[in-house]
Structures are given as C-alpha cells and as structure tokens.
Amino acid sequence: MPAQSIWTLLSWGPDGWSDDIASGVLVTIALALATLPIGLVIGFFVAFAKQHEEPSLRLAGNIYTTVFRGLPELVTLFLFFFGMPLLLQYVVRLFNPDATIDVNSFIAGMIVLSLIFSSYASEVFLSAFRAIPKGQYEGGYAIGLSKWQTMRLVILPQLIRIAFPGLENCWLSLLKDTSLVSVVNLAETLRQSGVAARVTKHSFLFYSVAALIFLALAVLSSIATSYILRYLGRREAR
C-alpha cells in the first residue's frame, strides 16, 4: 500500500475516513439527544421526591442518586450491558425456552446514560427547588390553583431558569460520556476514529480528530445554550 498523505486519509469517500467518522458523529449526537429528555424527566421527578415532605419518598430519591452517582459510568454500563440480557433471558425463557436476547448497544447506552444524567440533573433541580421561596407555592394555592397547576404554571418556569446553568454542565458531561459507549461497540465518533486509527496506523491523527470533534460539539453547545439563556432572560424581563 502506498503511503497516503493525511489529506487523502481525511478525505470524503472510499479512500478517506471522513464519511465514516461523520456517521459516528451523527450517532454521538443522536445518542446524546435521545438521552436528554429521558434524563431530564427522571431527574426532575427524583429531585421532586428528594424535596418532598414525605420521608419515604426522600429516601427513595436519595438511594437513586447515591447508587448512580457512586458507580463509575463504565461499571454501570457493563453491568447493564451484560447483566440485563441475562435477566431478560431468564424471564423470557419461562415462556419460550429457545429465546436468546441481545441488547442493542444504542439502547443500552441510552438507558445507562439516562440513569447517570438524571442522577446528576436531580441534584441541580434539587438546589433549584430550594432556591424557590415557599411563598410561591402558597401564593399559587391562595389564588385557587391546584397542586399540579401551581407546579406547572408557577414553579416550573422559575425552576428551569434557575437550573439552566447547572443543566448545561450536565449536558456537557453527557456529551463526553457518550464516548464510553464505544466500549460496547457502538459505532460512534470515538469508535469510528479508533477503527480508522487501527487500519491506517495513524493513531495520533485520528484520535486528535476525535478530540477536536468533541471540542467542537462542546463549543456548539455553549453557543446554543447562550441563545437559550438569552431567550429565558427575555422571558424573565417581561
């Protein structure tokens, strides 16, 4: 094989690797975006439980964050990726003895990242809950709103504004954590760069490309969040 210049290696098409890496980038973005809403919803409800007056709800919420913040991301991923098929297989074989189960690495990654993201996001939501004075709830009840209406119309809009900067940090670490799913063979950015590195023997080049892609995603996110923040700020001013 003739020595290829790095420009051929980075070109688009059969000789270059840009198209493969670009498909990996799409998978990374898809994984992060698919995780975000699930993680936010779970995180919100966990935080809601952790600031509830009912002690058993608080306990359940605290166990959740202790477990998923205490376990290394990689251990959670492996436990889930290798353990879940065993469990599902055990259940399914009760009905159909020949069934075999494979966990899709995208789905496994999505679930594990949601668990991790939500446990961090719940802490952010919790401190936002604590920043909202009790009078806001009481005011809501006093004008005849139900509990749910107070939460939706009075508390939530303020909560999002307070929690936003913290959630931005959670999003950035989610973006970085997606790279871990490459370990269970999901063809995302790092995985595709790794394949390119192994085939072409230009490891430094391709891993640098992967690093720069993650850096670019972080920069893009902060541009996007500054727009959203400005939008939220405008809402507040009115």
């Binding site: 709800l57 251990v75 871990l180």
Partner: protein, 274 residues
Amino acid sequence: MSASQAIAIDRPPPQARGWSRARILGYALVGVWVLFGAGIVAYLVYAWNAEFFARYAPAYLQGLGTTLSLVAISMILGAILSLPVAYGRMSKHPILSGLAYCYVYFFRGTPLLVQTYLVYYGVGSFRPELETVGLWWFFREAFYCGVFAFSLNTAAYQAEILRGAIESVPRGQWEGAASLGLHKLQTLRKVVLPQAIIVALRPYGNELILMIKASAIVAIITVYDLMGNAKLAYAKSFDIQAYIWVAVVYLVMVEILRHGVEWIERRITIHLHR
C-alpha cells in the same frame, strides 16, 4: 379564665399521618429498592462460588491497589501541575492567560477516554522517535500512560477549583494584608489560602471521587486495575457477579470518601457555625 389557658385549649390537634398518595408511592418506591437490593444479595448468595472467590479475590485486591495508586499519583501530579495553570488563568498577561485557557478548555471539553487513547495509542505510535529520545519505556507501559493522561486531565479541573477558591476571597483581604506590609506570597500563604481551602475542600473532594470513578477507564487500555481485573474475571468465567462485586467495591469507596469529606468540612468550618 386567663389568656394562657385559652391558648392551651385551642391548640390544634397533631396532624394525622394518614396514608396519603405520596406516602403510598414513597413506600412503594422504597419497597422496589429493598427488593432490588435483596435480589442482588440473594443472587450473590445463590451464585456463591468458593472457587471463584478464591481465584479472583486476590486479583481484585491487587487491582484495588493499582486503582488507588493510579488515583493518588495522578491527583498529586495534577495538583502540582495545576499551580502554573491556575497562575496563568489568573494572570493579566494575554498570552499566558490565553494558553492556560486553551489548556483548561481542551482537557475539560474532551472525554477522558479520548485523552487516554490519544496518549496510549496516539503518542505510542511514534515509537522510533520516542526510542531516540529515550522516552519509549514510559509510553510503552499502559499504567504510565494512564497516569500521564489522568494527571493532565485533573490538572485542568484542579486549576479551575484553585482559581475559583482564590477568587472567592474578597479583594479587601489582599489589600489589608498589603497595607500591613506582607508581600504577595506571604499574603497568599497566611491570609488567602486558609480562607480559600474552606471553599475548595468540597470541589477537591468531588474531583477525587470523579477520579476514582474515571480510573475505571484505564481498564480499556489493558491496565489491570479494579475494573480491569473484573473484566478479566468476566471474560474467563462469564459470571456476572464479577461486575456486581466490583460495583459494590466502587460504591463503598465513593461513599466512604464522600462522608469523609463531609466530616472534614464540618470540622474546618466549626468556627463559622454559631
């Protein structure tokens, strides 16, 4: 009939703790956790395998040692390296602060896994060059590469912690010390740092916990740390308890550290509580 008696009579009855919806839900969720925990304990008892334990427990202990030494060395090297970076971040010199900003942005903006690959596979691919410089022995060992990548990474985070803590001390403290005739280094050591440490303790504790959790990554570049030994045990035995045990060990470690940091924080802020 006095006023105090009337108040005593009119006191409202204690609120009844009935079975509200929230309480039922809370008990149900705690019940789910209890079932989950009991399930795992039951599984470990059911799958108890003396042979497995005898074969892999020493390896796990050794792996624990590797993990702890990796984290300890990286934290210390990172702390040393974070000093110039934090200095650069706070300096008014544009080139110096720009360089420090880029360093911090790069290491905080990219995944640690990518950085580790970049060092182990990326730098390691320049073998002839490294051999001529005489650094090949260093980049050949996965453990050293892990320490190298982790130190650079944690230096970026620690520099930000340090900067945040020092900047949290009001400027008047610097000015007051200067008016007493202390020079800058004395001010930093005797006035600013004692106040900054209180602010920095919790972030430093969090960084230590994050490092312990992140150190599982080195298992992927063939270091036999705690996670690496779990991977090996799983590959040999196909027994999921390999990962359950390692999860328990990590969880215990993190909880001990977290409570330790909270205890220290209570001790050193004792003069601030009234």
